[in-house]
Amino acid sequence: MNAHPAGRWMRRAGSLAICLIAWQMASVLRLDLGIVTFRNVPPPVDVAAAALDFLRSPRLYDHLASSLRRVLAGYGIAAVAGVALGLVIGRSRWLADFLQAPLELLRPIPAVAWIPLAVLMFPSSEWSMIFITFTGALFPILINTVHGVENVDPRLIASARSLGSTRTAMLLEVILPGAAPNIVTGLVIGMGTSWFCLVTAEMISGQFGIGYYTWESYTLQNYPEIIVGMILIGLLGMGSSALLRVAGTALLPWHAKEGR
């Protein structure tokens, strides 16, 4: 923590450079370590060339737009449902008891396992993919919201009641801001998992999307493109999480100003 900021950035860039050089050498030398082999792994230089091609291609927009649309829809629904459900579960013991069994049962089921049923349930493949994205984002958001609501200081609730708080004000002005830091954490984690699940869903069905592009590249043996797809997924997930974190900090000024 005492390091100079410029020094820290240098270190980060340096580690990235070392990884790239090691990768380049491994694939150029066709390194074969027995269990893992780099013989079919394209070197970063080829990947960069493929990435440049893809960036110039008109299909880039279609792939990106399809993926972003699905994530926005699935994640958006999950965010609204997760926060709303989390607030009521955190506030009502009755609802918590009522919903606990089905939610605990559904929670550990991974997105991949949902795919066959989603295809059967949703006639439109677009909606089945949105649904998969939704299942991925819902639980982190829901669980963090419930956790946040349960952790609101009971003395704050007691003071609010003593100050004549209405039920609506209790929820919107005490419980919601009290749980907000946990909700933001849930939203950031949920964003990551929803990308994760989207790509899984796109590999099974669809004609556009970054996940589809990655899988298509494999079947067409365009190996550098596989890695372009992977990097794009990583960047999109990282970027959207970072965006949420910035938004969270802006929305929770009392948190940021803590240290004065």
């Binding site: 003395r155 007691a158 609010a160 100050l163 004549g164 004000a169 002005e173 009392w254």
Partner: protein, 276 residues
């Protein structure tokens, strides 16, 4: 609103009657009687301190007056109305950390007014007026974490005063402050009380504090919590901290010490309050 400075008008409200109040805390096998068969009265405008060792039920009794805890037996009434739940006419100030961290000092104070449907402009003005009264001119936009402990307690007091309560209930409000800040806050509270003459019930385990502030001290003892003795505090008002060196003060303090020491067993009981 016009009459907020008329002591006579306020002196008519804030009468407390406690009749054979018993309070049980905890559930099932761990339940115990925290307050046992307590009866007392407080006159309108009176400043009463509940003094006692930890575990004597003084905070629990205050929580019941606020309406956060229901008595198992007996009745608690304020101005003839039985206490049924929390409400803005019985404002409570805790030891620390009950300001809304996400609201500025002004919005914390304005919260009660907002709940009553007072328009935004008016509640801002009123909140600022009360904050100035407690000496927080210029700190309206600070979040609680940007304020010192003493300043936070000033906001707490302002937040309760803005509701024009009949009762001010204070649960060791200055217990977490350093000695000098505590003295200053005690003087501020006396000053506010002289102006508004609200009934105040003030919980403390600090004998000096009780003697400096109260008209009357209700000394409690533990296991189960009950009233040990009531002491009238004869010092003239307005009081300053200079009385603490007087012979009468020292004599009363010795008496209180004697009362608290006769209740040594209480030290073994941990502090238990459902509100923390």
């Amino acid at each position: 609103m016009m009459n907020s400075h008329d002591p006579n008008l306020h002196a008519l409200t804030g009468r407390i009657k406690a009749r054979n109040v018993s309070i049980r805390l905890g559930h099932g096998s761990s339940a115990f009687e925290a307050v046992s068969d307590v009866s007392f009265e407080v006159s309108p405008g009176e400043f009463v301190c509940l003094l006692g060792p930890s575990g004597c039920g003084k905070s629990t009794l205050l929580g019941a007056l606020a309406g956060h805890i229901a008595p198992a037996a007996g009745t608690l009434a304020v101005d003839g109305d039985v206490v049924k739940g929390p409400g803005p006419e019985r404002g409570i100030v805790f030891q620390h950390h009950t300001l809304f961290p996400w609201k500025s000092a002004r919005d914390n104070v304005a919260f009660g007014l907002k709940m009553r449907g007072v328009a935004r402009g008016e509640r801002r003005r009123e909140a600022e007026r009360i904050l100035e009264l407690v000496g927080l001119d210029g700190f309206f936009d600070r979040y609680p974490r940007q304020l010192s402990g003493g300043m936070q307690q000033r906001v707490e007091i302002a937040r309760v005063l803005v509701n024009k309560p009949r009762l001010l209930l204070m649960d060791e409000p200055f217990g977490a402050l350093d000695a000098l800040t505590r003295l200053r806050m005690q003087e501020l509270l006396l000053d506010i009380w002289e102006q508004f003459r609200k009934t105040i019930v003030f919980v403390t385990h600090d004998i000096d504090e009780a003697l400096l502030l109260a008209d009357r001290i209700i000394v409690m003892k533990a296991q189960p919590g009950r009233i040990h003795e009531e002491i009238r505090v004869p010092f003239e008002r307005p009081r300053g901290t200079d009385i603490m060196a007087s012979a009468d003060f020292v004599r009363l303090k010795q008496h209180c010490l004697h009362l608290l020491h006769s209740d040594r067993r209480a030290d073994t009981l941990t502090r238990l309050s459902p509100l923390g």
